[in-house]
């Protein structure tokens, strides 16, 4: 039987220099980056929330809102999406639905809802153009002051739109994004892990980033954009990763991106390991391509519009994500090289420490969000015991693989997210 005390006995025998050599990364970077920032957000969450002043509320009420939803073969999801939009406390002035070359009857369905008056503009691409192009068509036709980009397979809290636009009282804000929760958390272990991941990363991570103005992705599934801002930077670029790309361009142009933490959207996450791996590989490839290829000049201090915050954000990502992912297998190998089988004890000790940190982080995130039911928490709580393995090992391996295939093969340019005729021209000719 495994003796959980043994790793700590072994670690207790090490001197402080060896300790630091082994755990410097966790002690110097990860704990301050995640745990301490989480605690700061947790403490800040007790402060009274600032509601819009009457003048700000009048300004918000005067804004014209356009919702743009583009989808491919999402006929089954439309009804639920429209139902939750019709329940919104904030009036939506215009809903534009674009069917991107669907073959499942989506065109007829959006036409039906248009006849019922639930959609204002229903358009169809006869052949698939990709999400970016479809959304751009909607953006260019939208008349609203704020253009809200949503996914057809998401549903929204009644006050989601009202909360999402609150940051726009600040005229410097170009985009805002809201909280995304997992709707199918009880479907499988895979969705359970993702539910924890979303709670922690959005409940604490994004709030922490928002406090230091480092939100870098206004999600395409749930993002609001100032019309003037997105037209200034030229709408969406060819995907994948178009929402991240657009947000970075907005930041570079001087617009602020805000996180509306109390605005909630719920979505179904991939339910199988294969689907999850596929999704994360795509996300990670896009992140690497966008950051290290398209926006690599962020590191060049002499560029025309050098912004220290942008460069810091890129460096932070490079160290906390890129470097950690690359170093992780080397670190494990080094442990085994130095300590032999004893490395297992060290890894178990690390896992236990991470378990404690994860549990603390999870509980703090729940307390901050105050959105999840007790039933949901009880359902996903057991997964916290192995969440460290999921997040720290499994996801890092997936990320490493994604970075490798992107760096060596430019795999994102062949992603089926966009039709091949489009992605080929977009990525190889530009």
């Amino acid at each position: 039987m495994l003796d959980l005390g043994a790793p700590f006995v072994m670690l207790g025998q090490l001197d402080w220099a060896t300790w630091l050599a082994m755990f410097w990364f966790m002690i110097l970077l990860e704990v301050p980056r995640y745990t301490l920032s989480g605690m700061a957000v947790f403490a800040a969450s007790f402060a009274r929330k600032q509601e819009p002043t009457p003048a700000e509320q009048r300004y918000l009420d005067g804004l014209k809102l356009s919702v743009v939803i583009a989808g491919h073969n999402e006929a089954d999801a439309i009804e639920r999406c429209l139902k939750s939009l019709s329940e919104q406390t904030r009036k939506i002035d215009e809903i534009i639905f674009i069917d991107d070359g669907s073959t499942d009857g989506m065109r007829e369905i959006i036409h039906k809802y248009r006849l019922r008056g639930q959609i204002d503009i229903a358009l169809s691409n006869q052949v698939r153009s990709g999400k970016s192009a479809s959304c751009n068509l909607g953006f260019s036709l939208a008349k609203g002051d704020i253009i809200i980009n949503l996914d057809a397979d998401c549903s929204y809290d009644r006050d989601a739109i009202a909360r999402l636009i609150e940051p726009f009282t600040d005229p410097r804000v170009g985009a805002a994004t809201g909280s995304i929760g997992v709707r199918n958390y009880d479907y499988s272990a895979v969705t359970g892990y993702q539910a924890i991941e979303y709670i922690v990363s959005i409940g604490m991570g994004k709030r922490a980033l928002d406090t230091i103005d480092m939100v870098v992705c206004a999600s395409g599934a749930f993002g609001a954009f100032r019309r003037e801002a997105i037209h200034q930077v030229g709408l969406l670029a060819p995907g994948p990763g178009e929402d991240f790309d657009l947000t970075l361009r907005l930041r570079r142009s001087g617009w602020k991106i805000r996180f509306a933490a109390d605005s909630w959207c719920f979505t179904d996450t991939p339910a199988t390991v294969a689907a999850l791996v596929r999704q994360r590989r795509r996300w990670d490839r896009d992140t690497l391509r966008t950051r290290m290829r398209k926006f690599r000049d962020t590191f060049r201090a002499g560029r025309r519009r050098f912004l220290l915050l942008e460069t810091f954000e890129q460096c932070e990502w490079l160290v906390m994500n890129g470097l950690v992912t690359l170093v992780f297998p080397i670190y494990v190998g080094w442990l085994f090289l130095c300590f032999g089988v004893g490395a297992l004890n060290i890894l178990i000790a690390v896992a236990i420490i991470y378990l404690v940190l994860d549990a603390i982080g999870f509980l703090m995130a729940l307390a901050i969000c105050r959105r999840y039911s007790a039933g949901m928490v009880w359902t996903i709580a057991p997964y916290i015991l192995t969440f460290g393995l999921y997040n720290g090992v499994f996801m890092r391996c997936v990320r490493l693989h994604a970075y490798g295939e992107e760096w060596i093969y430019r795999a994102s340019s062949r992603d089926s997210y966009s039709p091949s005729r489009v992605s080929h021209q977009a990525h190889w000719k530009s």
């Binding site: 070359g101 065109r107 959006i110 036409h111 248009r114 006849l115 503009i121 229903a122 358009l123 169809s124 691409n125 006869q126 052949v127 698939r128 153009s129 990709g130 970016s132 192009a133 479809s134 751009n136 068509l137 260019s140 036709l141 030229g234 709408l235 969406l236 670029a237 060819p238 995907g239 178009e242 005729r421 489009v422 021209q425 977009a426 000719k429 530009s430």
Partner: protein, 431 residues
């Protein structure tokens, strides 16, 4: 010119009224003579194209809606029995009609009942009640044989129900739900303001920057240039494609995938959505043996017509009553009505019409073969021979369940079993 009538002999002399007058050189065939003052008129012969009001005056003077009217000049009006096919034909036609009218018994020949008049006209003209398309008519269809009679379609339906006429499909035309006119303009129009001032525009998708917008935004000095990245678009399939199109209203600026279809009534000016426009079915009718018997042997209004097309429901009702009197077999008559009829019809008239057809099918399939179903203005009458009230109620509940299964809407099905004494009154009122 002599209008010679060769090949047939005229036995009784027929009086005709020529209007405005016969030309000096005009000679009419033997067997005809100009009607003198006070003499009955067997035919009206128009020698010129007379205006409508004059024709109405003549018909009023003649006072016989069955009298043949022929014109020696072309005239395509409803009440003209022959025109534009030569004078000889006109005389022959007038005589043939008059000869057939003479075969009718006095009770029919001088009846003022519209049904009798219609049957007599169909018989005397020797052809069925055939409709023709007529752009000048509000219904776009008219029955030339019916002459000056009004509400011909409704009369013909009644005679068909009674088995005197049999019908064949002719056409189905949309009509205005407000004024019943068939003068409808079907047009593509804006979803928002219903204006027909719409234009279609192709959407262009530039691959390299993912910009997708209406084509006008890409046009630049005779070529294509992306409004987002300013690159020229030279090669369709490589630089760009055209994945779809939009329709734009040039009045209100509304944009949509495709234009709406709307109906505008050219008579009352009302505008209707397609699902609000009812379709009216037109039939051509021909006289049945029962109809001919009724005409030639006089009207027997109390009796029921015999023959294959007779009113089956009435026949069965009489038979069932007789069975009850002689053998004591109970029977039930149920009146089916629909509580939500007005609400559904107001929302979507065509849906209601389709629903009623489905209800009819469902009733026929849920009931026994011996049961009879008859549609009336507010619902259905169901005759259930040899059935007690409990069995009838159970059968109707099953029919109600079947109807709920097949219909998309809830019509508010309800039924009442009618007392025998009330049946005839209800039946007569609604037939």
């Amino acid at each position: 010119m002599l209008m010679g009538v060769d090949g047939f002999a005229l036995t009784p002399t027929a009086n005709f009224l020529a209007y405005p007058r016969l030309h000096d050189e005009c000679r009419y065939p033997p067997g005809w003579k100009l009607a003198g003052r006070g003499e009955p008129i067997d035919a009206v012969v128009l020698t010129v194209a007379v205006p409508d009001h004059a024709l109405r005056t003549i018909l009023g003077h003649v006072g016989d809606p069955l009298v043949p009217i022929v014109s020696l000049v072309p005239d395509d009006r409803q009440c003209i029995d022959a025109a534009g096919q030569g004078e000889q034909f006109a005389w022959e036609r007038a005589y043939a009609i008059q000869a057939r009218l003479r075969e009718l018994p006095v009770s029919i020949r001088h009846s003022a009942a519209p049904e009798d008049l219609l049957l007599a006209r169909v018989y005397s003209r020797g052809q069925g009640l055939a409709p023709v398309h007529d752009p000048g008519s509000r219904d776009l269809v008219r029955y030339p044989v019916a002459g000056p009679l009004e509400n011909v379609s409704e009369l013909a339906v009644g005679l068909d129900n009674k088995g005197y006429l049999t019908r064949r499909f002719f056409d189905r035309l949309f009509c205005c739900p407000q004024c019943r006119s068939a003068h409808l303009s079907v047009r593509e129009e804006c979803h928002s303001c219903r204006s027909a001032n719409i234009s279609e525009e192709v959407v262009v998708h530039h691959f390299q920057c993912a910009h997708e917008a209406p084509e006008t935004q890409f046009r630049s000095h005779g070529g294509f240039k992306c409004p987002k990245c300013a690159r020229p678009l030279r090669h369709i399939g490589l630089d760009y494609d055209k994945p779809g199109s939009i329709s734009r209203c040039d009045d209100c600026g509304a944009i949509n995938d495709k234009p709406a279809v709307g109906f505008k009534c050219m008579d009352c000016g009302a505008h209707h959505a397609p699902d609000q426009v009812p379709a009216r079915t037109w039939y051509s009718y021909s006289l049945t043996a029962a109809g001919q018997r009724r005409l030639l042997h006089g009207a027997d209004r109390a009796g029921l017509p015999a023959g294959p097309g007779a009113d089956r429901f009435r026949l069965l009702l009489e038979h069932t009553r007789k069975e009850q009197r002689e053998f004591g077999s109970p029977f039930q008559v149920a009146n089916i009505s629909f509580a939500n009829r007005d609400a559904i019809a107001a929302r979507d008239l065509r849906l209601w019409e389709q629903s009623m057809q489905l209800v009819g099918d469902a009733l026929h399939s849920a009931l026994r073969e011996v049961d009879a179903v008859r549609e009336h203005a507010e619902g259905f009458l169901i005759l259930m021979p040899r059935t007690g009230p409990h069995d009838a109620a159970r059968a109707l509940q099953q029919a109600s369940a079947r109807i709920r299964d097949v219909l998309k809407v809830d019509p508010g099905f309800r039924f009442t079993l009618i007392e025998d004494v009330a049946i005839e009154g209800l039946f007569n009122r609604r037939a």
